[in-house]
């Protein structure tokens, strides 16, 4: 335990050549008592410090009546220095934490104490529309990088005393604030406890990226399947909290995590809940179909062309064969090369600024593709198959799942080259089996289809039931209160 005493000298010594740490010495009006106001330039609002800290310290006569430093600290807390968020710090660690979080601290040397005032004023991005989860019909609010703003957005939507926001700090040096968000009377307490335990167990100097947080939350991350949902959307986050899931808001990240989730959750989009259940169900079925097409179409094409030509309708077989006659590459190599080209285009498009990225897509996709057909390097059939699979992958709302599918698509193509449809089936068995073996915070990954006891299989999964038929929360996440409508605690 630190034995250092709170004093202005201590803080000056800790930040000797840091011009951003500002110290203002103030002599209290009508008194010989001196205090030092410390703050970090850029993290605080100068106007707030001037109006609500420095001005009262200089001008309030009441403070001058303090007999000693201890009484001065008490007076600061009781009125003359009026600010809604103030706190007495009696330890150096506490005072240092307050200073580094962007608060101003008034150091009273003789009292060996400091009073912290929340005068944060750092520049931040305003609340804007989500760039990755846009909807036509629905809220446009998205999370920003400031955790407290994000928690306020959640509080505004869920105005219940059962909403719990437990904040902890992670990272020995970064001291990143992380809030665990859940509904006390709804969320499974075991899940909440498990998440808190994992947060407490994080032993790293700093959390600076989303990937680090995900890796620590999931424990061992040797799976390519996404097991956490992240969202920029406040409405999606709140809807999941209402379902009984637990949320995590990390300071510095414009996203929030939701857990525990199953595979089906990666197919759910905010817009599903903006439309009627019939339309939403059709869209959901389309998404599942697209995921399957994105995963297996190139592999099935290779298997058909290489091993099972007799299964193709005669006209189609003739058309494919006539188009590949002049192509110097075997069909499987064509498919592999084109998948590789597709991945390169995708990466190039992502890394470049948006206008240039679009140009890359046009030049790469249309111009080079067209030229490859004319040059007789690629057949139109292969381009159609790979492009269809690629576009089908983009229909998925989750980019994490989309990436996983892209990875397995390549693996299945390689298997189809080795053993046609048989090997593709074995590959699919392996993928499905791996999914079946996965659990995320005790929830089977393929619930409610597997491990869910056969309940709610067609309620907000491949199809979405009407609101009046969807009166319970997902049973597999183990909510305390399972009723969403009618009987509620």
């Amino acid at each position: 335990m630190s034995t250092d005493k709170i004093s202005a000298g201590y803080f000056r010594q800790k930040f000797p050549e840091n011009p951003d740490v500002v110290f203002n010495e103030v002599v209290i009006k009508n008194s010989s008592l001196r205090v030092t106001v410390a703050s970090i330039d850029g993290m605080v609002s100068s106007q707030l410090i001037d109006d609500y800290v420095l001005k009262p310290l200089f001008q309030e006569a009441a403070l001058g009546k303090a007999k000693d430093a201890r009484e001065l600290v008490s007076l600061m807390m009781l009125g003359p220095v009026y600010h809604c968020q103030r706190k007495v710090c009696n330890t150096v660690k506490d005072a240092m934490g307050e200073l580094l979080q962007g608060n101003a601290i008034v150091i009273v040397d003789e009292a060996e104490a400091a009073v912290s005032f929340d005068v944060k004023g750092f520049a931040s991005r305003g609340i804007s529309e989500s760039s990755t989860e846009g909807v036509l019909k629905g809220s446009k609010e998205a999370f920003i990088e400031v955790m407290r703003t994000n928690t306020a957005l959640v509080r505004r939507r869920l105005q219940t005393d059962t909403l719990k926001i437990n904040t902890t700090r992670v990272g020995t040096r970064s001291q990143t604030a992380v809030s665990v968000v859940y509904l006390d009377a709804v969320a499974n307490p075991e899940t909440v406890a498990a998440i808190k335990t994992r947060l407490e167990a994080i032993d790293i100097d700093g959390i600076v990226s989303a990937g680090q947080m995900e890796a620590f939350l999931l424990g061992r991350r040797n799976s390519v399947f996404p097991q956490l949902i992240y969202t920029e959307r406040v409405d999606k986050f709140c809807a999941n909290i209402l379902e009984g899931r637990v949320g995590l808001i990390v300071d510095g990240l414009p996203i929030a995590y939701i857990m525990p989730v199953d595979l089906v959750a990666f197919f759910q989009a905010p817009e599903d809940y903006a439309h009627g259940h019939i339309l939403s169900s059709l869209l959901r079925i389309l998404r599942f179909s697209c995921a399957f097409i994105a995963l297996v179409l190139p592999a099935i094409y290779v298997a058909m062309v290489m091993f099972h030509q007799d299964m193709l309708p005669t006209q189609l077989a003739v058309s494919i064969i006539s188009n590949t006659v002049a192509i110097p590459l075997p069909s499987y190599l064509e498919v592999l090369l084109l998948i590789l080209a597709f991945e390169i285009l995708l990466e190039a498009g992502l890394r470049l600024p948006q206008p240039i990225g679009q140009s890359v897509s046009i030049v790469g996709g249309l111009v080079v593709g067209q030229a490859a057909i004319f040059a007789g390097i690629l057949s139109p059939g292969v381009i159609m198959v790979v492009a269809t699979a690629g576009i089908a992958g983009f229909v998925l709302p989750s980019q994490d799942l989309s990436i996983t599918i892209r990875l397995f698509r390549i693996a299945l193509v390689i298997l189809s080259i080795i053993g046609g449809l048989y090997a593709v089936t074995l590959g699919l068995i392996a993928i499905l089996f791996r999914c079946c073996a996965l659990d995320a915070f005790g929830v089977p990954y393929l619930a409610p289809f597997a491990g869910g006891g056969g309940k709610r299989m067609f309620n907000d999964t491949v199809v979405r039931a009407a609101w009046n038929k969807s009166s319970t929360r997902p049973a597999d996440i183990g909510p305390i209160d399972s009723a969403k409508q009618g009987r509620q605690t």
Partner: protein
């Protein structure tokens, strides 16, 4: 230990019967039951209900977690070990049979010029990794697979309806009772596999066999009856009786919108899922019997040797498909199956009741 539910046991059981069903049932019931053969699964369901009732009687007290415990409690410790050895040998023989059967089916329907070794090895590699996971993973896998097979069966049935000839499956009269019962004999023998699942009893949550039993028996008997009805109805009993794989021959008749035909390769590759479940479940059962027999703590490391012996044994089991079919369809095979899967549990129940051990 993550336990599986009785519902999951029944689902796994239904799926493990799919491979033997398409390999054995259509030709056997067509041979013995002729046009009325499709009723055999309905008749066999009575036998399955009886087996379930016996198993329920063995486990309802909750005194024993698995069959090993039941045998020890009813027949005595000294009799239980040799009996367990017999079960081990027979389960292993069935395991070899179905590994080889699966490979021969793939060769016959998709890759006529490929050596079955390739299919045996590739399947056993996947099974090896799968059986090192928890039993709950294969149980969950079965829950998803049954949905896939429900869709496949629906498409298969609807697509085969145009090829159906009523004269092949009708009329059915009281004169068919004896042939139907004779046809039901191998079906009961295969459905008796449910008994083997209870060597995994310690992995099953409170084996309350009554729950989901009605649904399971209904699903299994109706699906099997429909499958035989359509296969025999499309090909005719005489043709179906003489064909090695009548199910896939019937699939060849499917023509979707005059564009997609020759779907037997697709069906055969999808049936690999059922083979995978069957073989993996057998590996779990075998390793669990070995664990009990030798009082081992862990059975996971046995999966490697079982898979390797499975490869060698399945090749040695029969020289060709004909020999394999003779072994699978022989009366002795069905008789041993019936004795071990039905007879011994009935005996255990009777002795257990007399000795008040249950």
């Amino acid at each position: 230990m993550q336990k599986i539910s009785t519902r999951q046991v029944y689902i796994m059981f239904i799926l493990t019967t799919l491979s033997p069903a398409i390999a054995l049932f259509p030709s056997f019931v067509a041979r013995h039951g002729s046009a009325a053969g499709w009723i055999a699964p309905i008749a066999a369901s009575v036998g399955l209900i009886a087996v379930i009732a016996v198993l329920h009687g063995l486990f309802k007290s909750g005194r024993f977690a698995d069959l090993h415990g039941v045998f020890g409690g009813t027949f005595g410790k000294w009799s239980a070990k040799p009996l367990l050895t017999v079960y081990l040998l027979w389960t292993f023989a069935l395991f070899l049979l179905y590994v080889r059967y699966y490979a021969e089916r793939i060769v016959a329907s998709m890759f006529t010029s490929v050596n079955p070794d390739f299919f045996i090895i590739s399947m056993l590699i996947v099974v090896f990794f799968a059986s090192r996971a928890k039993l709950s993973a294969i149980a969950r896998f079965s829950e998803v697979a049954i949905l896939v097979f429900a869709v496949i069966f629906a498409v298969f049935f609807v697509s085969l309806i145009p090829t159906l000839r009523a004269i092949h499956v009708l009329p059915v009269t009281h004169y068919d009772a004896v042939p139907v019962l004779r046809s039901a004999y191998p079906i009961v023998s295969v459905w008796g596999f449910i008994t083997l699942f209870f060597f995994l009893g310690e992995h099953i949550e409170k084996p309350d066999l009554k729950s989901f039993a009605k649904k399971a028996v209904l699903i299994l008997s109706v699906a099997t009856a429909l499958m035989i009805f359509l296969v025999v109805g499309s090909l005719g009993p005489d043709t179906a009786a003489r064909m090695p794989w009548p199910f896939f021959s019937a699939a060849k008749l499917i023509d979707i919108m005059q564009s997609f035909d020759r779907l037997e390769a697709v069906l055969s590759s999808i049936w690999v899922i059922a083979d995978f479940i069957l073989i993996t479940v057998f590996v779990f059962i075998i390793t669990n019997i070995v664990k009990k027999l030798f009082n081992l703590r862990e059975s996971r490391y046995l999966t490697g040797p079982v898979a390797m012996l499975g490869y060698a044994g399945s090749l040695l089991l029969a020289a060709n498909t004909r020999e394999l079919e003779l072994f699978a369809a022989s009366s002795t095979t069905h008789a041993v199956n019936l004795v071990l899967c039905v007879g011994v549990p009935v005996l255990a129940l009777a002795i257990g009741k007399m000795r008040r051990a249950l």
